[in-house]
Amino acid sequence: MNHVLHMIIEKRDSRFVRSVNAHESSKGPDLSQTDGSPGLMNFSPSLHFKTYLLILLMVMFGPLGNVLLGKGMKRIGAVGVATLPEALNFLSRVLTSSTIWLGIGSLAIFFMANMLVLSWADYSYVQPASSVAYGMSALLAHFLLHEVITPMRWMGVLLICVGVLVVGHTPPRTTNPVR
């Protein structure tokens, strides 16, 4: 999957460079995009593209991991963790559940994508942008766990998505790279 991701970005980068070369003699594309604030970093479309791609992975695997964990934990049920034997019993039941391991695997992919995107993008951009995951969580909880989602809750999910769109229109990076 990572290899494919690399190929896609490389291909897109080279297409972008060709496009820049083709227009260099005339006006040339405006690579900067700011929302009117001073001092924002310039960034290329390829940076935007790889940011979106990794956030998409986060949005897909984060909710999936949460739902799988939810399903696994529901099977285990409410258990006490007040005493050491209770805590050990809880831990052994968690670690022997295949659903929980699938959930952990999904969250590992989510975490890797999160780490990579944070190597260039602002935390205050990535965090709200990845909140589309809440809509995804509601969908998965509704269809996989058969939980009841009220219309009001759907309205909240819609507001979250609008907020994400607004954040998505700000530059992903506003700080200087450390190296």
Binding site: V148, I160, G168
Partner: protein, 124 residues
Amino acid sequence: MIIFIFYLLIIGAGTGGELCVSWAMKEVGEVKDFRPAALVGVVIRALRVPWMWAGLGLMATAFFSLLAVLSRQNVSLVVPVTALSYGAGALGGKFLLGEQVTWRRWSGVLLVCVGVAVVLMGRG
């Protein structure tokens, strides 16, 4: 009461942990090579940054709190509550990481927070 403490840990430790990871990854530098071998190198470099370990510790605390809450309440309630960390995240990004949180970004964060409140009010 115990649920409240778990929620506090999910939000506080979760956001703090992600801010630490974000700081560590900025020190690692922008990842441009996505081949598996290069990604392993990125992970190794990241693990050499102390902030990454602080972040992982805090996120592990948040993770086990999440597990504890998930065994008691529905996913569709628990997951939106964790979105309250968005306000904390934007503040942390601005004041701890020096990011420029513009009025547009703030309004997006505000919409997300209002959305979370509506989700909570719509608890079935």
